[in-house]
Amino acid sequence: MKTNLIALIAGILFGLGLVISDMVNPLRVIHFLDIGGDWDPTLLFVMMSALAFTTPAFHYLLKRDCPVIGEKFYLPENKRIEKKLIIGAGLFGLGWGLAGFCPGPAITALATFSPDVLLFVAAMLTGFIIGKYLNIKI
């Protein structure tokens, strides 16, 4: 029960963070990716400030045997660098560059009920299912 409350609070904080930093705006993201053009480093500041908190915090909190309420730390066990990782990241990068949307901002932007956002998220959810299926096949 308490883990559900934490998840809700964490979601709200994350959503607020994406909105305040303007990462929900595809134009802002495209201008970050456009290093040869009118470059806007805001996304870099967002990522760096997030990492400035998470890097030291994760280092210390992962020394615990278990989380405060949850049963255990659910961390990815796969350590191998595989072709799949690179191909997947490449496809994701292509989609990100085409639309200026990645999963977090796109889901957060659903709050506007914009038909364009709904369309993107619907395609992305379909992509999740296709991707999960491909993961079983490859």
Binding site: T3, A10, L16, T42, V46, F53, F73, I87, G97, F120
Partner: protein, 139 residues
């Protein structure tokens, strides 16, 4: 486009705080593509409710902001057919590549995961080349 350092740092700090809360209390990584995709493809289960609440929280956070500060400014950068193509690519790519900007970029790098560092370099590099190519082609 004018950079917005202050709001970038405030927003990034909130994102960092969110990822810390989720890992410290629940033992979970704040990887949005993973949280959403597992919610979509797993059987409804009381142990999975947190995923739904996290996703609803994202939307709720934006609504909270809109309630106090007014509508969000979304400037779409792609036509509708292109949005569908991009959405499919983002969906497939994040599943095959095990993560997105939050899971790899914010949480994975913080854990010092080599996979996440590499994935972030690849998706950012490909996205930069995509935007460059799009501009050169006048799209």
């Amino acid at each position: 486009m004018e950079a917005d350092y202050i709001n970038g740092i405030i927003g990034g700090s909130l994102i960092g705080l969110s990822a810390i809360l989720l890992l410290l209390f629940n033992g979970r990584i704040a990887g949005i593509s993973g949280i959403a995709a597992t919610l979509l493809t797993s059987r409804p289960d009381k142990h999975e409710v947190w995923r739904l609440l996290f996703i609803l929280g994202l939307i709720g956070g934006a609504m909270l902001y809109m309630f106090f500060f007014g509508p969000l400014n979304l400037e779409m950068q792609a036509s509708r057919p292109m949005l569908v193509v991009a959405g499919l690519l983002v969906g497939i790519g994040t599943q095959v590549g095990s993560g997105c900007t939050s899971g790899h970029g914010v949480c994975g790098i913080a854990r010092g995961s080599l996979r996440s560092i590499l994935a972030t370099i690849v998706f950012m590099g490909v996205a930069i080349v995509t935007v460059y190519t799009k501009r050169r082609l006048g799209l």
